[in-house]
Symmetry: none
Subunit: 242 residues, 2 copies
DNA sequence: TTATATTTTAATGAATTTTTAAGGTTAAAA
DNA sequence: TTTTAACCTTAAAAATTCATTAAAATATAA
């Protein structure tokens, strides 16, 4: 059987090169691109059997856009795609899987594991469609409805407009109703491991979220502060502890 | 929380000192070494939680050698390492990443960013260890329910509000039901090894905890004083033993 | 590009938590 | 009984954490 060709689409040259070295060592042919545009150009000329795609890419297209284009092309509609991402965000993961990606790996990753996963994907390269459902499409908590499919949030019958970050934050907290998350965990989950900003930035987003979904933002019913520990989502409709 | 110790391995005293001052200001304990040899000596005697390593070092070993040795030791195989380098060389970066370093910063660097990166590396380290949650999510002792996920405590059907320290103290004692801890051990476990305050401060927190969870705080059922020895948690539901 | 929306930083004050300190109480030893 | 050491209790000082706002920086869309 001919050598398989793997394309890495990743803007960090260090990661790209490290992957390239390791994949070559494993016996794959490797192509690299630093952006989605570049990747599409290369794909025109070379045969690619597998894509490793970073979500965060420079330029007008991100990794999702690239995957969308690839999957809509005749040549690559069933070529495996593995997503690399800085954040372990369920929404991103779902989005990727819905686009037809085969795996989702969070940076920083273990190289051995990554190689194993690639091998495994090649092995079971049958009809993929093993999309695992992650939670309900709609989250309803009292007067709050979060539609994760339409990306809409309704409060007391009104559609409210959230920014992407606010939406992700709300969905993450709501999907883990009751569980307390400290700021560091939230930064990792929603901003990604390579976020170098201030931890207080979480507070500000919580505040803005509250002004949008709470009746009285200073006395929140949904997004609760657990002093010294973090924040949690509460469903005011549910009764006490069991 | 205990203070983290960062070791700087850098031969340029100007850079070393500048980093040292800034890291101290951020609340870290700082150790310095001017060569790999020196670093290895210090590591024998002191606990180090993070290494900042310059690649170009005087003597027979360079930064890569040092990292290789550290990573092969049991004590530091998973201690974070940040590489400082004068050249923004992809090959060096790759080599560093392959050795297991966590970040790579090129001189001259922005101090603010460096501090942020260190913080971020610590962040994902702690979140990684938080993943392996041990013990049950709920601790139940007679009329007392401790929910370690929601960070809630229920007493006789009522939700009581504890401060972070009170909560941690209660969880620690309850997880070790029956075992007696003296004040010094409690200070070590809950305040951190570098706490230099009064040992009586434990009494005060025990007192406040009792007023919140005990029916009669002066005749406690849950948090028992063992005179001359310390405190222990008891489950009044269980039968007594000698 | 400019304009607009979003995100981050920074700074203040308020509220809560933690520590200190000091006198009171209790239990065991002298 | 007296003494002593350990513990309890309370109040106030000190430190920390959070909410809030506005402005600066950044990203996105027109």
């Amino acid at each position: 059987m001919a050598k398989k060709t793997i394309m890495i689409v990743e803007d960090d040259p260090a990661i790209s090169e490290m992957l390239s070295i390791n994949l070559s060592k494993e016996g794959y042919d490797v192509l690299s691109a630093g952006s989605a545009d570049e990747a599409l150009k290369v794909v025109e000329e070379k045969d690619v059997d597998f894509f490793i795609v970073d979500i965060m890419l420079p330029g007008s297209m991100d990794g999702f856009d690239l995957i969308r284009i690839l999957k809509s092309s005749e040549a690559h509609k069933s070529t495996p795609v593995l997503i690399l991402s800085a954040k372990d965000d369920a929404a991103d993961k779902v989005a990727g899987l819905e686009l037809g990606s085969d795996d989702y790996v969070t940076k920083p990753f273990n190289v051995r594991e990554l190689l194993a996963r690639i091998k495994s994907i090649f092995r079971r390269q049958t009809t993929a469609s093993q999309m695992k459902e992650e939670g309900p499409k709609k989250i309803i908590a009292k007067d709050l409805i979060i539609d994760t499919e339409r990306l809409e949030v309704w409060v007391r019958g009104e559609l409210v407009s959230l920014t992407p970050l606010e939406f992700d934050l709300l969905v993450f907290l709501a999907k883990n109703e009751g569980k307390v998350f400290n700021r560091d965990v939230l930064l990792d989950k929603l901003w990604g491991y390579d976020y170098y900003g201030d931890t207080r930035t979480v507070d500000v987003h919580i505040r803005r979220l509250r002004t949008k979904i709470e009746e009285d933002p200073s006395n929140p019913k949904y997004i609760i502060t657990v002093r010294g520990k973090g924040y949690k989502f509460r469903d005011p409709g549910k009764e006490k502890n069991d």
